[in-house]
Symmetry: D2
Subunit: 136 residues, 4 copies
């Protein structure tokens, strides 16, 4: 794995409460890691998920495909990376990977499809794509 | 324990993801059980936490004291009970207990202090107390 | 939608803490709903996720595909349903749907792929399939 | 506030999923912040919560008092600090504070009482106190 394949990465540490009775991070918590990384990426581009919401625009998730390749455990540190592309006219696709540190063991691969709504109605996400400098 | 000591009780089942790597419900999740029970109690009195928020009024928590007497585990069912009283001029105190079923083992005792804000500023919670038919 | 298409369904109520700042249930929490339904289904067949873990056998998730069709909000009640089938030699596939009540609005469709490990190594999930009376 | 009053501090960033429909961090999530800070502190002293569990010893929480002074919101960064002392013969008391950064606004004050069990029975936490170099 090469970090430079990705446009954004964020480092994390497993928190013990994220592990379930099997002693591994619960499957739902990986979605939290993926989301937090997307939101920090958007912030780095001047797009605030919470400010957008307060202005009536919501970025929403319409589909997730996630492969759990190897579990994270207590004390693990890891890196969540992403790439982003336009998908058709109304969707933004985030390609995301999680790697354990320092051995870059591949933990999760996911494709997360987002869309935008304005006052509850679907709108083109072109305002996001423009800030990301992706072709709209 | 006698359920009739309380003005409201709600039954739950432990969900496995609420247990942490010790195999017991994580300490933070009991606050979730307590909150959900308060909100269902308020709803039963015609008070919606989410509707209030949309109208600019927020019920907030200012202090919690919680004693963890015995842990809940996978497959446990349990009952969360509450009483409520006015506390001074600006606070509402919820006295809450959690009992495992069917043996009524005492799991948690908590006192949760709430207050109200309107557009971010403290206000008297008398509108809540009136609906609860508590003296304001 | 017809509930009789499914072999197991479980009713839920949204808990306010499951909603995020957009006022809708956070995307990760649907995985919690799906998991709790699977575990209650397995329990109804005499298979305990936590007992299995204590005996050294873990049921794990290897892949999830989830379509978010419409969001759940505060005060919503909903039904989570499932079917299950063998998938190749080492996987169990759960087909799961979430419907809002009482209008049966389709909220989520998901396919959840499970597998089994014994002391950390992959094993055939035939012991599960037998209890479920699925052909192994 | 002076960081040098504390023996350990850890920096965090609010993750959007930790905020509830009021747009503020949900009351239960502060317990997660406090726990993660305690566990990282213990690790820094060579004590692993998860390793201890695997050896049959559990550090458990018996009581929490928490004052919520001011809420955290999306995009906030903050510092969680702690001091620790022996409390009677069987308890360890963590004094914990949360401060928003960079203004050191006081967010939460908490006292968290811990104890130890060995194979499910209460034991003296002296082995912890020794590693912490606290008088036992």
């Amino acid at each position: 794995m090469h970090s430079n394949k990705y446009i954004f990465c964020l480092d994390f540490r497993v928190r013990d409460y994220e592990c379930d009775l099997q002693g591994i991070v619960n499957n739902a918590n990986y979605l939290h890691y993926l989301e937090h990384t997307r939101h920090e990426f958007l912030l780095s581009k001047g797009i605030s998920f919470s400010d957008l919401h307060n202005e009536g625009t919501d970025l929403i998730i319409v589909r997730i495909e996630i492969d759990y390749k190897f579990p994270l455990r207590s004390k693990d540190t890891f890196k969540v990376c992403l790439n982003v592309r336009k998908e058709g006219n109304v969707r933004i696709a985030f390609e995301q990977d999680i790697f354990r540190l320092p051995d870059y063991k591949h933990i999760v691969h996911a494709v997360v499809m987002g869309a935008a709504t304005k006052n509850g109605r679907p709108v083109s996400p072109e305002f996001v794509l423009k800030k990301l400098k992706l072709p709209d």
